[in-house]
Amino acid sequence: MIEPEEGVPTILNLSEISEREREEEEKVVDIVREFGAENLIYCMQCGSCAAVCPLARVGFEWYNKKLIKALLLGLKEELLDDPTPWACVACNRCTEVCPRRVSPFEVMFAVRRMMVEEFAIPTLAIEGLRALYEYGHAVYMTGREARKKVGLPEKPPSTDSDEKALKDLKTILRNTKLAELGLIPMND
């Protein structure tokens, strides 16, 4: 593909995309189906999902409907740098209105999973994973004044105050794909 000038959209050469899939011996559609978006192929591009999608509303590039079409065409590289899938609020209103049971939410998340394999993952997500592993809470705060102010014990009855439970959780996480990917340090 000839690189276009800055700001000029690329012409999508579908034959080149198809050729790349052939060389890699894996279709993008099959990858995301494997990652949970099984029903992707039933999409008929009706647009109901985009009509209710908060991301489409506020102007993200690859919102549900458009993302699905891109995947059906075999686009992948073009999507890796895009923040859209990571902005999905997982509201699932798309799933509720989809007439073909595609679950566009699952597609968004399947793409996240595909991007993770390519290490295209936002820093914030990495930090959340690290906190989950270290403390058992993705959102974790050390300052406990608020809890004391409302008359609660400093620590909630969670992994935060249960070492055995935190150890269990770490064992679980070390036996998942998170460990295979090596995204975060996972010491015992």
Binding site: P9, L12, L14, S15, K69, L72
Partner: protein
């Protein structure tokens, strides 16, 4: 009730819901109608055609209040028979009825000028009353119906219409212009939505037609002329010259291969993708399987030209034979006897006609933006032939540009390998939904593109297939499921009709499109581009319609009497239409329409006779001067000059007269009366209208 009884006219004004009352002040019109001469009763009602509405009329007749009826309502085209019947049921001669159309010609037309509409309704009613005062009682006539049917066109619609009629015991004459029946369907590989093999389901029907005792199959024939009318059409059919003795031809095909290269022309059955000889059988499953000689292509080998001459070799004196004659095992191809190039005229008499002449596929050459000169840019019909086992590549998917190479090798008995296509791209709505060509949707293209794509993808899973759609239309039973299956197979659907095809070096094509879903221009490098060109009326359809006296619509297809209620009838009684001659449609719809047309013809002819309105012309022999002006004017050949008291006088055959009134208007001596529209009646109407608004006061 006697004729000379003083007219007592009842005027019945219909509101037609809001249709009339919404624009016409019905009460005011009713008050006015009461002032008209001889009007004794005026009533208005919400729906005069309803049971209670008709009852009002019947009651007044039965009670002797009225003896002439005027209904001011909608159109006589649909409602006159209903009100006539009401009169008849109440014991009044039904021709003592007159209808005033104050809806179609008044309230609808002047919806926004209510006052004027009311005034116009008054004029129309006054004029109808003026005529009603002069009405005469008439008696219905009956004509005998010929229980035979002419079916024109031997495609799937014509075949089904013929079989249904023949099975019901009617004699059918099936006229097909090609040497074989089968039509366009015979060219198809498989048929949506179940992918039945077209030949497998069609061939047995073709054979059934050929063997049916009630079907007189006339292939390679065309309708020359038609006279007469419903129940008694006289048809002349020209059987074209085949130049082969069909009584002897066994369809063995020996002659096909020996026809020399110079006499070879593009093969219609393969949509021009291969060549056939001048002597040919259209396709392997042809019915009847007989050879014909295409005189435009024949080079008359050895001077063998059917002129009756017998050229002989100068030395040996042996007769010179053309290659086809030489190999013919039965002598069917014998070129010695004289054969009339005009063929032969067959005369038929039929009670009804079904027109099922089909369609043609639009040629690719119109669409310059898609590089139609390139052999690998093909129409979808060509793709059908390309994937068909009886096609030029025997069903093997190759690039059309490789066909000549392949055929050449086959001739030499060699085997060659040609490059397999990797990508196929379909483009929808080529010539349909297009103001430059046809504004209509061709209805079958979405489905046949999906069908071809599906067949190809299932057979060659590695193939990349793209379909450029404006939008996918699948409104049929099991159609959308079919479409979704294509998507699931990985056929790539691009929303947006492609805008161009450019030829790349090395036989490849670049399709330029825009994907409206990812909002980007897209390009596809393809080996074959398939254009879903429009279905259009055959070039000869307009002429045939003229011959038959039926109408064609703006788009060139045959026009039905009513889009919804009379979809297989025409404005000419006794002539029915079916299949794609009426408009683009798929096989299930064509068959359904064919069966509907057959059933309509049956219900028309089965009683053996039919009622005819007595509204026909009659000659007053005393007044007639025998000038003969009327004779050539009659479009039905109903008038002749006959001896009457030593003088020639006009005489009208009531069986042939259709009551058109041409003779009546033309007669210089006013000797011809058109019953139901007499001079006196028409003049009374005109005078009433002409005097308006004077008589209103």
């Amino acid at each position: 009730m006697s004729n000379d009884e003083k007219p007592k006219i009842g005027v019945y004004i219909c509101h037609c819901g809001e249709n009339i009352a919404g624009a016409v002040d019905v009460k005011a019109v009713a008050e006015f109608a009461k002032t008209l001469p001889d009007v004794v009763v005026v009533r208005d009602y919400l729906f005069m055609c309803s049971d209670p509405g008709q009852e009002l009329i019947k009651q007044d007749i039965k009670e002797g209040l009225v003896n002439r009826v005027v209904v001011a309502a909608c159109t006589p085209r649909t409602h006159e028979p209903i009100f006539r019947k009401a009169c008849e049921d109440a014991g009044l001669n039904k021709y003592y009825f007159e209808m005033a159309n104050i809806r179609d010609q008044c309230s609808w037309a002047h919806w926004h000028e209510k006052e004027k509409a009311t005034e116009k309704a008054k004029v129309i009613i006054a004029s109808a009353v003026a005529k009603a005062r002069l009405l005469e009682p008439l008696e219905d006539r009956y004509i005998d119906l010929k229980k035979e049917v002419l079916v024109i066109g031997g495609g799937i619609a014509g075949i089904f219409a013929s079989l249904d009629l023949a099975n019901a015991g009617f004699k059918v004459h099936l006229v097909e212009k090609s040497p074989s029946i089968g039509g366009n369907m015979a060219k198809l590989d498989k048929t949506f939505p179940t992918n039945d093999c077209s030949a497998c389901i069609l061939t047995p029907l073709m054979v059934e037609v050929a063997n049916h005792p009630n079907i007189n199959l006339l292939t390679y024939s065309e309708v020359e002329s038609i006279t007469g009318s419903v129940g008694n059409f006289k048809v002349k059919v020209r059987k074209k010259q085949t130049y082969v003795d069909w009584n002897k031809c066994t369809g063995c095909g020996a002659c096909l291969d020996v026809c020399p290269p110079k006499a070879r022309v593009p093969d219609e059955f393969n949509e021009g993708m291969s060549l056939r000889g001048a002597i040919y059988i259209p396709f392997p499953q042809a019915v009847p399987k007989k050879a014909v000689v295409d005189m435009n292509a024949c080079i008359k080998c050895g001077g063998r030209d059917f002129s009756g001459k017998e050229p002989r070799k100068s030395k040996s004196g042996k007769p010179i034979l053309a290659p086809c004659e030489r190999v013919c095992p039965t002598g069917a191809a014998d070129r010695t006897p004289y054969r009339d190039p005009n063929g032969e005229i067959v005369e038929l008499e039929v009670g009804a006609i079904i027109v099922a002449t089909g369609y043609k596929v639009m040629d690719k050459s119109y669409f310059k933006e898609f590089s139609p000169h390139h052999p690998n840019v093909i129409t979808a019909m060509q793709m059908e032939r390309l994937i068909s086992a009886t096609g030029p590549s025997e069903g093997k998917l190759i690039k059309p540009s490789d066909i000549p190479k392949l055929l050449e090798a086959k001739k030499k008995g060699e085997k060659i390998e040609v490059e397999k296509p990797k990508t196929i791209t379909f483009i929808s709505c080529v010539g349909s939904r297009d103001n430059r060509y046809h504004t209509y949707c061709s209805r079958v293209c979405c489905m046949y593109m999906l069908k071809q794509a599906m067949i190809l993808k299932e057979k060659y899973p590695d193939l990349d297939i793209y379909i450029f759609f404006i939008d996918v239309r699948t409104p049929g039973k099991e159609f959308d499921e079919y479409y979704m299956r294509c998507r699931q197979l990985g056929i790539k659907i691009i929303k947006g009709r492609a805008g161009g095809i450019q030829v790349l070096p090395g036989d490849k094509l670049l399709v330029k499109g825009y994907d409206a879903e990812v909002c980007r221009p897209v390009e596809v490098i393809t080996d074959i581009a398939v254009l879903a060109t429009a279905i259009e009326p055959d070039n000869t359809l307009r002429d045939l319609a003229r011959t038959l006296g039926i109408n064609v619509g703006a788009e060139g297809f045959l026009k039905e009497r009513h889009t919804k209620l009379y979809p297989v009838d025409t404005m000419t009684e006794g002539i029915f239409i079916a299949g794609c001659a009426q408009g683009p449609k798929d096989i299930p719809d064509s068959v359904a329409q064919a069966k509907a047309a057959a059933a309509s013809a049956m219900s028309l002819l089965e009683p053996g006779k039919m009622t005819v309105e007595p509204l026909i012309s009659e000659v007053d022999k005393e007044k007639c001067t025998g000038c003969g002006v009327c004779v050539p004017l009659c479009p039905y050949g109903a008038i002749s000059l006959v001896k009457h008291e030593d003088k020639l006088k006009s005489e009208i055959n009531p069986a042939l007269c259709k009551g058109c009134g041409v003779c009546t208007a033309a007669c210089p001596s006013k000797a011809i009366t058109l019953h139901g529209f007499t001079y006196e009646q028409v003049l009374a109407q005109i005078k009433t209208i002409a005097k308006w608004p004077e008589i209103q006061t």
